[in-house]
Symmetry: C2
Subunit: 465 residues, 2 copies
C-alpha cells in the first residue's frame, strides 16, 4: 500500500465543501452542492469541528438535507429534522431511501417515531413498519425493498411493461426477480436478457432458476460475505415463509464489511462497544474514554499478578540481578508472538477460511511456527549473551553459559506457549459461540506476561541452585 491510498476522494471536492460549510453562506453551500457528489459531503462532515458541524446543521436548508440525508449520520439528520416545520420534515423523509429511513427511525427514541411515521405516504409507512421488525444487525434490518420484481409466466414484452413502472424506484434493475403470487422466487433474469430478446420470448426461457437467498433474521455480515463470495449484485432476502421481502445490494455489502472490519480491528486492540456511525473526530472524548477504559482497567489489575510473581521470586532476582536485563525480553516475546497468532486465526475465521472443525490443524501449525520462532530467537540471544554481555554483570557464582541457558530455554518455552495460547483462545471463543475477536490481544499479552515471569524465574531457580 502506498501513501496516496488514504486520500480517498479527490480532496479538492472535499475541501470545496468544507470551505463552503465554514463560510456559512447558503448560496456558496448551494453552489458547491450542485458541483460535488454527496459522498464528498459525507467526508467533509466527518472532518468538521464539532462546533462548526452543529452550527452548519442548524442552518442546513431542508432541500440540501433531503439531498444529503442518505449520506449523513442518522443522528445528525434526526437532530436537524426535529427543528424543521412538518411540511419540510415530510419532504426530507420522502427523499430517504427506505433502508436509510428505517435506520433513522431506529436511531430515535421510541416515542418520537410515530410523529415522523405519520408523515410518510401509505406505502413508505408500511415498508418502514415491516423493516423495523428486524434488528439493525440482521439482513432484514439492512435490506432495501426497492428491488425489481415481475410476476411469473410473462413474455418479454409484458415483463418490460411491468418493469417500466419500477424503473425509477428500483435500486438495482439489472437483476429482476420473477415471483409467484406468494412472492416466492421462481428465478432471476438479467435486464440485458430482456433487452436483447424478441418480445414474444417467455421470460421463463431466459431466467436463471437456481437462487441464492438469505433469511431476514440472519446476521448482516453473513449476507455481505455471500455477496462477496458469489460476486452478487443483489442478494435476495426472504422471510420465514421463504417470500421475497428485500435485497442486500453490492453497496450495502461493502458498507457492512467495512463496518465489521473496523469492529474486529478495535476489538483486537481491546476497544469495546460498537464503532457506531460517528467518525473518529465526531466521537466525543468521553465516548472514546468509555470504549477504551474497560479493558485498560481490567488488564491493569490482571498485571498485578505478574507483579506478585516477580515479588515472590524476590530472592532469585536480587541474588542474580542480571536476570532483570532479560526479563522484559522474555515477557515481551510472548506478547508479540501470541498477538500475531491470535490475529492470524481471528482474521482467517472472519474470512471464512477456517472453522472450528480445523481446530487441530491450526494448533499443529501454530505449534511448529512457535517452536521455530522460539528456537531461532533463543539462538540469537544466546549468542548475544556469550559475546556481548559484560562479564562484570555476571555474579561469580554463575557462568555466562548458565545465564545463556536460562534465557534461551525460557524464550523457547515462552514463545511456544504464547503462540499456542494466542491461537487457541479465539478458537475457544468461537466454540463458546462468542465472537473470536473478543479475545483482545492486550488480554493475551497480559496473560502470557504472567506465564513468562513464572517460566523465567522457575527455570532460573532450577539452573542456578
Amino acid at each position: 500500500m502506498v501513501e496516496e491510498e488514504n486520500s480517498i476522494v479527490k480532496p479538492d471536492n472535499v475541501e470545496l465543501v468544507i470551505e463552503a460549510l465554514h463560510s456559512g453562506s447558503a448560496e456558496r453551500i448551494q453552489a458547491v452542492a450542485e458541483e460535488v457528489h454527496p459522498g464528498d459531503v459525507e467526508v467533509a462532515f466527518e472532518r468538521l469541528d464539532d462546533a462548526v458541524r452543529s452550527e452548519v446543521l442548524a442552518k442546513l436548508p431542508s432541500d440540501l438535507l433531503a439531498e444529503w440525508a442518505d449520506y449523513l449520520p442518522a443522528a445528525d439528520v434526526e437532530r436537524r429534522l426535529s427543528t424543521l416545520p412538518r411540511v419540510e420534515q415530510r419532504e426530507v423523509l420522502n427523499s430517504l431511501s427506505d433502508d436509510e429511513l428505517v435506520d433513522l427511525l431506529q436511531e430515535m427514541e421510541e416515542e418520537d417515531r410515530p410523529q415522523f411515521i405519520e408523515l410518510l405516504p401509505e406505502d413508505k409507512r408500511r415498508v418502514s413498519e415491516d423493516l423495523m421488525r428486524y434488528p439493525e444487525e440482521t439482513a432484514g434490518g439492512r435490506m432495501t425493498t426497492a428491488m425489481a420484481t415481475i410476476s411469473e409466466g410473462l413474455s418479454v414484452k409484458a415483463a418490460l411493461g411491468e418493469l417500466e413502472a419500477l424503473r425509477e424506484d428500483a435500486e438495482i434493475l439489472s437483476r429482476i426477480f420473477v415471483i409467484d403470487s406468494e412472492r416466492r422466487i421462481k428465478g432471476i433474469v438479467r435486464l440485458r436478457e430482456l433487452a436483447f430478446s424478441t418480445w414474444d420470448t417467455p421470460v421463463t426461457e431466459l431466467m436463471n432458476k437456481d437462487q441464492m437467498t438469505i433469511g431476514a433474521m440472519e446476521d448482516q455480515e453473513e449476507a455481505a460475505q455471500m455477496v462477496a463470495r458469489y460476486d452478487l449484485m443483489a442478494l435476495p432476502v426472504v422471510d420465514e415463509e421463504n417470500r421475497l421481502i428485500g435485497v442486500i445490494t453490492h453497496d450495502d455489502a461493502l458498507e457492512i464489511l467495512e463496518q465489521e472490519n473496523t469492529e474486529d480491528m478495535e476489538k483486537i486492540s481491546g476497544i469495546g462497544g460498537d464503532h457506531g456511525e460517528q467518525a473518529y473526530l465526531q466521537t466525543s472524548v468521553f465516548t472514546h474514554f468509555k470504549r477504551r477504559f474497560g479493558w485498560v482497567l481490567v488488564l491493569a489489575f490482571l498485571a498485578l499478578i505478574s507483579g506478585w510473581v516477580m515479588h515472590a521470586y524476590e530472592d532469585v532476582l536480587t541474588a542474580y540481578f542480571v536476570l532483570a536485563i532479560y526479563l522484559p525480553m522474555v515477557v515481551a516475546a510472548g506478547g508479540n508472538t501470541g498477538g500475531q497468532a491470535a490475529t492470524m486465526v481471528i482474521r482467517a475465521m472472519a474470512l471464512g477460511e477456517l472453522d472450528t472443525r480445523e481446530f487441530r490443524r491450526v494448533i499443529w501449525k501454530e505449534a511448529r511456527v512457535g517452536i521455530l520462532m522460539g528456537s531461532l530467537l533463543a539462538v540469537c540471544v544466546v549468542i548475544q549473551i556469550q559475546f556481548l554481555l559484560p562479564s562484570r554483570l555476571i555474579p561469580e557464582s554463575l557462568s555466562t553459559f548458565a545465564v545463556a541457558l536460562v534465557v534461551g530455554v525460557s524464550l523457547v518455552a515462552q514463545v511456544f506457549t504464547s503462540t499456542l495460547v494466542g491461537a487457541m483462545l479465539p478458537v475457544g471463543a468461537k466454540l463458546a459461540r462468542l465472537d473470536p475477536a473478543v479475545v483482545a490481544s492486550p488480554a493475551i499479552t497480559t496473560l502470557v506476561d504472567v506465564s513468562g515471569c513464572i517460566i523465567y524465574f522457575s527455570i532460573a531457580q532450577l539452573v542456578f541452585h
Copy 2:
C-alpha cells in the same frame, strides 16, 4: 456480531465439495460441480489439507479447472495448467476472465509467460499484454476490460445494436460508457434508460455527463474506496491521455478492500509482508514464520533497553522491592492505551475520516482521553494500595501514601504519554508518506515499556530519597 456470522456459505455445499474432492472420484466431483457455486469450491479448497489439495489438483479435469479457475489461487491454477496438453491449456486460458488471466500471468516466472500467451486468441493476447503493463496493486492492474462501450451520437436503437454484440462478454452491462473516437468518456448511460426509451431517442439525451474516473497507475485501494464512497457499480479507469481502458467493478472493489483490511490488521499486529492469495491453512509453516519473525526479533532486542533501565535502577528496586509489584501494571497500562490510540487513528485514516491536516485535533483529542484514563486508573490503584496492600510489604522507611503516590503519578504520566505516542506515530508515518499501519502496536508497546520503566523508577527515586 453473532456466532453464525462465520459460517459464511451454506456449509452443506462446502462439505459436499470437500467430501467429493476427498473421494477422488471424477464422477462425484463432476456431479457436485454442477450442484454448487464456484464460490463454494473456493472455500472448500481453502480448507483442504495441503496433501489432499495437491493430489486433487493433479487429477483435476481441465473442464473443471476451466470452470473454477477464476476462483482458485493463481498459483494452484498455474501448477495444474503446466501439466496439461497444449489444447487443454488453451481451453482453460480462454475461460479465464481477463483480470484473472493477467493475475495468473503475473504470478508465473517471466520465462514461462510467452508459451502461455501464444496460446491466446489475438484479442485476449493484446488485452493481457496491455494489462500487464500495470503493477498488480494499481487500478490498471486490477481492472477488467470487459466493459460496455458505445460510440457517441447514436440513437437508442443503434446503441442497442452495438451492445447486442457485447451482451455476453461485458461483465457489467448496466453501466454503458459513451466514448468518442479517442475512447474518451463522453457520458454514462444506464441500460434501463435505453431499454425504456423510444428507439429514436438520441443517447445523448439519456446519458449522465459528469464522470467519475481514476488513473490506471493509482493505488487499487483508492479505486475501491471510490467505488464504496460513491456507491458505484463500475469505476472507469483511464490512461495518461484520459482514454477509457477498463473498469473496476463492485466485486473487484469488495475483494480489494477485504485484502487491504487483512493486511492492515496483520501489520498492526506486527506481521510483515503481503497476505498473498493463500488462505491460512494453505500457507506453509515456513511462510508464516518468515512473515512474523522479523518484528519478533527486532522487538526482542529493543526490549533489552527496558532490561538495562531496570538494571540501572537496581538499588532503587532492591531497596524498595514493593515497586516490583506495580511495575508490570505501569508498563502494561502504557502498551494497552498506546495500542488502542494507534488502532483508532490508523483505522480512521484508512476509512478516509482523517488526514494529516487534522493532526493537531487528533493530538488534542487523544491528550484528553489519555489524561482521563490515566487519572481514573490512578485513583482506582491508589485506593487498592491504601486499603488492600499488606503493610508488611512496605519498608519501614516508606509510608503507604508514598508508594501510592509513586504508582499513581507514574500511571497518569505513563498512560498520557503512551496515548499520545500511539496516536502520533501513525500520523507521523503518514506524513513520511508511509502506510500508517506500519507502526505496529507491538512496536509501540515495546517503546512505551522503556518509557514506563524510566518514568516509574525516576519518580520512585524522587519521592523515596
